[in-house]
Subunit: 407 residues, 2 copies
């Protein structure tokens, strides 16, 4: 039994016309003889509508009830898709988390999948039913509904593909038709990538590309499930295959696969701080304890026992971080705090960096030629990130895209 | 432990402001020391929105998926109410049908309640939590969600009050504040009824008064649970108590308790049908098999072996009924079919009819004085119904209201 797992995102099911179109595509696919499991997101806008309702009741809503509310959208779209399939004589059934024992841990709104049962799914696949699973949700050991975080339907799909030993997991999108070498909305010479490794995709996801959820890529890597990102409605267009690096055809291997940009970070500098052992821990402990994720950290060379420290946090956490630093001013004894919200994080990602040298130099030179100043640098095995001025973002993407032969 | 079960209808929870107001009322009630179970409807308009979505996908939607979709509205409003209670420091939890084992039979969209577990509810009541149950829904033996039909939250509330041996079940409404002697929107001299018997309420519900669901009244009667219908937000106003007839104070006993009208019926006449044994069965069998409920039936006196037969069906089933009759024309061999959608069903309801005579005559005379023609009559132990022209509806209500001393 060849099993295909397909996930349809919120913009793909945003209205009934689209849902009916998807049903027709699935009918065609079913005629090829494969068994089909669909994972469906909530209709675009629905989850936001529910969150708005919740926020008008409470700033710190009860987590269990929160998940109970925001999980309803996927149930609705799943059942609508089943109805649309039935209308064109395709047998289908929706099976929610409690039906397929999609168990998670107990961390509401950001739950991790622990296990998934296959009995119910396989029972209906054997009966030639299309099985539709509401994405983004599971149940905990107390049988309460949990949700997997924004983009969590990707994770549902990959996990289900893994447990069913599906050949691959198709993530169908209406707004994009694959992974691009840069954001095509920012830079129109961006090219679709045919093959990309899990590691590269992971870096791109965490560096601002919102096409795939990081957790889903991580799980696909662990379970060795190929992810195929493609267009929902344009069947003729080829998408992007996310897979093991060593299986990628040589012709598709590049030194740098993609350029990402992230405008959602802010920079904080702590000026004139005593350069004593343990000072970094004193600064970052209260920040991380508040659940704020610090990304890049740069410490200046110390002069006369004093130093400056610069780091980035998500823009939405900027005020909270400032408040924490001010509350700890006496303990930290710094001279002043500077914030900068007008930054862009520009990164180049490529598995080729592991074997090629001089990539960083090429990046810095290329940015310098475009008169772009770099204020922070961070590197890992397969990526180099620079913080630059936000207004130079587009120029940086285009010059790096050219520099690394991606145009 | 004194338990109060309250049910809030859709217009009572139609926006967040109202939900917060209800939470405040409940906080006050809780301070009196009672244990509180709330049953909540979907926010007004939500169920209609979902049905519209469904209808744009399918004319005959899959019943299981249908119930899965339309049951989401009550889950959302229940969790929102829990959040609103938490905001003002009242402990609360929502427990859905699967949590409290609210089991039903397997008739989707019109399910009947089979049993309800009390363990989970009592556990949280003991912990001093307010328990909130999404109304209108249960689960069948297959663990699929079922729904109880329009107005089904009334039924949920009465059944829960019954199983918990609650003193009474309060049904709180925003659009009405009790049961009236006639529809106050049609006739402004209608008076609120302080006490009414289950039997009278049942007749009124099935004769067009939409305040309470018939099934809920029936169950309250069986379980001997008093229903108290009152205003959600106007606490000072007294509502209506639906209870056993023999417990109603003498001063509140009337010959006729209420006048109802129903504009949702249509009349069909079959002209020139052979008056042979079994003809009625031949006519009504295929109609009832299609799930159409025939209410009144009148057969004319037969002349020369031929007769006419007139009956009423819900307006929405008129075309379907006509189609069935046409399909069976050769078998039934009638001369022609006549339909009339412009009718009103006017009824007087009162337990006093059991011991008083001449009530029917007073009704007919009163209508005749107002020059209203009666085209069909039907009686039961405690009600008399007449079909009249729709345009005379208001005049009929006012003259009967006066005639039976209800003004």
């Amino acid at each position: 039994m060849k099993i295909v797992v397909q996930k349809y995102g919120g913009t793909s099911v945003s209205d009934i016309k689209k849902i009916k179109k998807i049903a027709l595509n699935i009918k065609k696919l079913k005629k090829t003889g494969v068994s089909i499991v669909l994972v469906v997101s909530a209709m675009a806008g629905e989850t936001d509508r529910l969150i708005k309702l919740i926020n008008s009741v409470s700033d710190v809503p009860n987590e269990r009830e929160y998940d109970q509310i925001i999980s309803t959208g996927e149930k609705i779209s799943s059942s609508l898709l089943v109805m649309a399939l039935n209308e064109i004589n395709v047998n289908a059934i929706s099976l929610d988390a409690s039906k397929i024992n999609l168990m998670t841990n107990n961390i509401h709104s950001k739950a991790s999948i622990v296990s998934i049962g296959t009995k119910e799914i396989k029972k209906y696949l054997k009966k030639k039913f299309v099985v539709v699973v509401p994405g983004f949700q599971g149940i905990n050991s107390n049988n309460d509904i949990t949700t997997l975080g924004r983009g969590g339907s990707d994770l549902s799909a990959v996990a289900i593909a893994g447990i069913l030993k599906a050949d691959r997991c198709e993530l169908l999108k209406d707004d994009v038709d694959g992974i691009y070498s840069a954001d095509p909305r920012l830079y129109n010479k961006a090219k679709k990538i045919n093959h990309i490794s899990y590691q590269e995709m992971l870096e791109m996801s965490s560096l601002g590309s919102k096409v795939l959820q990081s957790k889903a890529v991580e799980m696909a890597n662990q379970l060795n499930i190929k992810i195929y990102v493609k267009s929902t409605f344009n069947n003729s267009r080829k998408g992007t295959l996310v897979m093991k690096e060593d299986k990628i055809p040589i012709k598709d291997k590049k030194v740098v696969s993609g350029i990402t940009h992230d405008l959602k970070q802010a920079k904080i500098s702590i000026i004139g701080i005593k350069d004593t052992p343990g000072i970094a821990s004193k600064i970052f402990k209260p920040i991380s304890q508040s659940g704020i994720i610090v990304d890049m950290i740069v410490q200046n060379i110390s002069t006369e026992g004093e130093t400056d420290l610069t780091f980035t946090v998500p823009k939405e956490d900027l005020n909270k971080t400032f408040k924490i630093l001010r509350e700890n001013k006496s303990k930290l004894s710094y001279k002043k705090l500077i914030k900068d919200e007008k930054i862009a994080l520009i990164s180049i990602v490529g598995a080729g960096m592991k074997i090629h040298t001089g990539i960083a130099t090429r990046m810095f030179t290329s940015l310098a030629k475009s008169k772009i100043n770099i204020s922070m640098i961070s590197t890992s095995e397969i990526k180099i990130s620079c913080v630059i001025n936000q207004t130079s973002c587009k120029k940086a993407v285009s010059s790096l895209h050219k520099e690394f032969g991606l145009d």
